[in-house]
């Protein structure tokens, strides 16, 4: 008799209650009849029922049997990479427990760099932490560190399947590709399309063409941007079609991509649009100025470049916007050729009326076309009156070779006259990682100097005069704007052979008597806390590297 049916009649009266539903006369079924006979006849019926249920419970417990489960389980393929050591795993586990840790991406990066994979035990926690669109920036490194087991495991859990889009598309089955593209979240689809742009551009184009009309506008722009990856002549047909769309942003993005294809029709149209916009005007024998010559209204031919006049009444403002947009589309090399001037000469001889717009446009164009000579000229430009550098020019640092970029940053850090002196952390985030040793050392020396200055700041005991308070407020502001973000970046970007130096320099300052003795709140609390965090992060970085190197 099955486990259920033996007790079924008892459960029925127990549920309803014996008051309303007296139990059947034959209360006990096999093999409990004898037990019932041994109980005193005068015993309450409910009591008998309970004891019977108790006996049945033990009987059922002792009689539990397994059941056949015939499903086929396809195991994961064998691993190709060695796992990291248990000690390294313990370190990585410790950062996984912090919800907003910035150290996890570093740990994954280091794993990938050393050709190790995550141990099996950590895979579920890492997937749980990263399987959300906000973590998409860390996805590209995943494929290198999760091993075969990770790939297998992702496929078992529906909430992790979004991570399939981080794998090379060549590893995905047709069904997986389809489900990611047609049913997945936008972040997953975008990641997948980026992959396809590397491995299978015809499919990327085909899919994009299919869904293009139904996508939302912002999403269309993001999808279109994936053309930057592996941009090729075959993309022209699709991009040309986009140039006929209603949205000027889409048109403009398509044009900026087409202009990067040397033999595109769009590129041939360029002179029609840009011709004469910037003109070199000789002023004296040696001197010249680069003048902007604007048409009254943008000609209709500009429309397919995504530039159009929206309303005449806005007048001047309208000029501002389309001039900058147009300049941002034109490959900057075009101006060099037309004007027969170097990038630096063009940048410095712009006439003042439209200078701001032209420079802003040039910054965008240089970022798109990645030209070092233009990046150099625009990065060095400073406003004559305010000494401010160009807005957004920090992005151009990535157009330079690492060594040059680092040199540029060091100059900014060292000289208070430098245009970027107050805004160097913006450049720091754009430096490739890891930094070079010489840059790392120089950075640390600057850091130590700054901290020493803070430590030597006079204490408040004696009371402060107003200029001193102002000076202190400036120092505090400077710390928050510059060194606080810089230390966060440095903890991840310092090269391996600078980590010990970083610890040597920072450790004496942690709770050092000098810093501790300041009764200035921000030095005592904020600065000290940040140094402690810096030391912790560097220590983590250092230990993990040592683990990989010793393995």
């Amino acid at each position: 008799m099955s486990r259920m049916s033996r007790i079924e009649s008892l459960v029925h009266c127990a549920l309803i209650g014996t008051r309303q539903e007296p139990p059947p006369p034959a209360l006990a079924s096999t093999p409990f009849e004898r037990l019932l006979d041994e109980l005193p006849a005068a015993m309450l019926l409910e009591r008998k029922l309970l004891l019977l249920a108790g006996a049945e419970a033990v009987y059922a417990l002792a009689g539990t049997s397994p059941f056949p489960l015939g499903v086929a389980v396809i195991p994961a393929p064998a691993e190709k990479l060695p796992p990291c050591s248990p000690q390294a795993a313990a370190l990585i586990k410790s950062v996984l427990q912090e919800s907003h840790s910035e150290l996890l991406p570093l740990a994954l990066e280091l794993l990938a760099r050393h050709g190790r994979r995550l141990p099996f035990s950590l895979l579920p926690t890492v997937f749980a932490a990263l399987a959300r669109p906000s973590a998409a920036a860390t996805w590209p490194v995943l494929a290198q560190v999760i091993g075969e087991r990770g790939r297998w495991l992702i496929r078992q859990n529906p909430s992790w399947r979004i991570l399939l889009s981080s794998l090379p598309v060549t590893e995905l089955s047709e069904q997986e590709l389809n489900s990611l593209w047609y049913e997945g979240s936008f972040a997953g689809r975008l990641a997948l399309l980026r992959q396809l742009r590397t491995y299978n551009r015809p499919l990327a184009r085909q899919w994009l063409e299919e869904v293009w009309p139904q996508e939302q506008r912002e999403q269309r722009l993001a999808l279109l941007e994936t053309f930057e990856i592996g941009l090729e002549q075959d993309d022209e047909a699709f991009l040309e079609k986009v140039r006929n769309r209603r949205s000027y942003q889409e048109r403009r993005l398509a044009v900026s991509l087409l202009l990067r294809l040397p033999s595109s029709a769009c590129r041939r149209e360029l002179p029609v649009v840009a011709h004469g916009l910037l003109q070199r005007e000789q002023q004296s024998e040696e001197g010249y100025v680069v003048r902007v010559v604007l048409p009254e209204t943008p000609p209709p031919s500009w429309q397919r470049f995504g530039i159009e006049q929206k309303s005449l009444s806005e007048g001047q403002k309208q000029h501002v916007s389309w001039l900058q947009e147009l300049i941002s589309l034109v490959p900057p090399g075009y101006w060099e050729e037309r004007l027969q001037l170097s990038p630096a000469s063009i940048v410095h001889s712009l006439e003042s009326t439209w200078r701001t717009e032209v420079l802003a446009g040039l910054v965008q164009a240089t970022r798109r076309h990645r030209l070092p000579s233009w990046a150099r000229a625009l990065l060095s430009w400073a406003d004559a009156a305010t000494h401010e550098p160009l807005a957004g020019a920090e992005d151009l640092l990535s157009c330079l070779e690492q060594e040059e970029a680092e040199q540029f940053l060091l100059q900014a850090l060292a000289s208070s006259q430098h245009a970027w002196h107050a805004r160097w952390p913006a450049l720091l985030t754009r430096l490739p990682r890891p930094w070079s040793t010489s840059f790392g050392v120089s950075f640390l020396e600057h850091m130590q100097k700054r901290l020493q200055e803070l430590a030597n700041h006079p204490s408040m005991d004696r009371g402060f005069a107003e200029p001193e308070i102002r000076q202190l407020a400036r120092a505090a502001m400077q710390w928050h704007q510059q060194w606080e973000p810089a230390l966060k970046i440095a903890a991840r970007a310092l090269p391996a052979n600078c980590l010990e130096l970083a610890l040597q320099l920072a450790q004496p300052l942690q709770q050092s008597e000098e810093l501790e003795a300041r009764n200035i709140y921000f030095i005592k609390r904020d600065v000290n806390r940040q140094i402690i965090t810096f030391i912790e992060e560097i220590t983590f970085h250092h230990r993990l590297l040592r683990e990989f190197e010793n393995q």
Binding site: M4, I7, L10, V11, A14, L15, I16, G17, T18, R19, Q20, L44, E46, R47, L50, L51, A53, G54, A55, E56, A57, V58, A60, L61, A62, G63, T64, S65, P66, F67, P68, L69, G70, V71, V73, I74, P75, A76, P83, P86, Q87, A89, A90, L91, K93, S94, Q97, P119, F120, S121, L123, P124, R149, W152, L153, Q156, N157, P158, Q507, T539
Partner: protein, 457 residues
């Protein structure tokens, strides 16, 4: 002299994740001075807000630290252990300083007291007077015992009536206000000094309407409670082992002295295989499962801790084996034990451990155990060549043996277990409660022994 704990064992020793993390941060020589070790202990002085003296006994893994933290082991102790694992050469072998010696002596003295080696202390005022007072004491104890038994019997009488009443009114109504009556009944059992029954009753309050087959499950459990009370009323009809079990199940605990004389001492190399933490009433219950390598005996080391803090007195080296003497509580099927004496330092588990080959074999041992002691609640399950199976995208989880026979895994998801398996069989270590298997650890072909995090609900 190297300390051979794994980072995992260490993580299991730490009272919580914060302590573990803080300890890892302290595992750096710059925080330490006067580091050292010898055959018995590791020690060092850690610079925190003050200079704290930290010392760890190698065998028992008992720690001592002069910091004011209420957590044991504290972050400094974990820090010292982390350092000893990752950079053993930082702890030079040297003679222990005086403060370490003093602590070790104190610690040794207290554990000898506990193990009862000195229980035969001579009476203070002569042999005769001693016997007389001992007799008096014995009489007093018996009287107290009798009074308590009377009280318990009265409590059980009331409980049995209530239980029959519950059945008369029907289980369908057991929710809301009615469940508060169950709580009151449990409180009455506590008053009658039957805490074991009270605790069992309280756990049943979560059963109604919790799953489709709850009426049957509830009736079965109520039936087992009725059997227990019936057994106590006719205690004299049971054999002596089972009498002990019934008393313990009701919460009539054995005095420490008596346990030392009547408990069974077993020396073996014990494998520390897994641990489960559960909150019952206002109490944390920690169940540590160990297996004797030579005797093949399984033992359950139980510890309790009140309130939010899970501060347990004993620390066990999970994933390790250690020669030790265990003291089993007397009973028809001795399962619960206490670690009496550490006889060697802990070393990592071997690459294979004895276990059953099939579920049929495992369930047969369970049936045999239940035949001797029907109130057993948990069983250690070690299954060789076990394959975790995840169905319906992680909605259903099973463990399958080499013959294709399966049992359900506990409620929740078991992704870590699946990650270790990867579709290949491994040695599974878990706890069986008669209905489902709760995974505790695995012995995987490459990684060896790995503890599992509790399943996510």
């Amino acid at each position: 002299m190297e300390l051979v704990l794994t980072p995992e064992t260490l993580a299991a020793l730490a009272p919580d994740e914060q302590v573990m993390k803080a300890g890892q941060k302290l595992a750096d020589q710059r925080h330490w001075q006067s580091l050292g070790q010898d055959e018995e202990a590791l020690w060092g002085e850690c610079q925190g807000s003050a200079l704290y003296r930290v010392c760890v006994d190698r065998r028992s893994l008992k720690t001592s630290c002069s910091c004011p933290s209420r957590k044991t082991p504290c972050k400094h102790s974990i820090g010292l252990l982390c350092l000893a694992i990752s950079e053993a050469d930082r702890l030079p072998a040297t003679k222990a300083p005086e403060w370490v010696e003093a602590w070790l002596q104190r610690h040794a003295a207290s554990s000898t007291r506990q193990s009862g080696a000195q229980r035969q202390s001579a009476p203070a005022n002569g042999e005769k007077g001693g016997t007389a007072s001992a007799e008096q004491e014995q009489r007093g104890r018996q009287q107290r015992m009798q009074r308590r038994q009377q009280r318990m019997l009265r409590g059980l009488e009331r409980f049995d009536l209530w239980l029959s009443d519950v059945l008369r009114n029907g289980l369908a109504d057991v929710q809301g206000e009615m469940l508060r009556q169950w709580e009151q009944e449990a409180a009455a059992l506590d008053d009658a000094q039957i805490p074991g029954l009270a605790s069992r009753l309280r756990t049943l309050t979560t059963v109604p309407y919790s799953r489709p087959d709850w009426p049957a499950a509830l009736l079965r459990q109520l039936g087992r409670l009725a059997l227990l009370s019936e057994a106590f009323r006719h205690l004299e009809r049971l054999d002596s082992g089972l009498q002990e079990d019934v008393r313990q199940a009701l919460g009539l605990s054995l005095p420490a002295e008596e346990l030392l004389t009547r408990g069974e001492r077993v020396r073996d190399r014990w494998l520390f295989l897994g641990q489960r933490l559960e909150q019952r009433d206002q109490l944390w219950q920690q169940r540590t499962w160990v297996l004797g390598q030579q005797t093949g005996r399984q033992a359950l080391l139980l510890q309790f801790a009140p309130g939010k803090q899970q501060a347990f007195t004993e620390q066990y080296p999970l994933g390790c084996e250690q020669e030790a003497e265990l003291l089993f509580w007397p009973g028809a099927y001795p399962q619960r034990a206490r670690l009496l004496e550490h006889l060697s330092p802990a070393t990592p588990l071997p690459s294979s451990i004895p276990g059953t080959a099939s579920f049929a074999e495992f369930l047969e041992t369970v049936a045999r155990a239940l035949a001797r002691q029907p109130w057993l609640e948990h069983f250690l399950c070690i299954l060789q060549e076990a394959l975790p199976v995840c169905l319906d995208d992680g909605q259903q989880w099973y463990l399958r043996d080499r013959h294709g026979q399966a049992l359900p895994l506990s409620h929740g998801s078991h992704w870590q277990l699946l990650a270790f398996s990867g579709g290949y069989p491994l040695t599974f270590i878990g706890e069986w409660n008669g209905e489902e298997l709760f995974p505790l650890a695995v012995l995987a072909p490459i990684e060896g022994f790995c503890l599992l995090q509790p399943p996510q609900k």
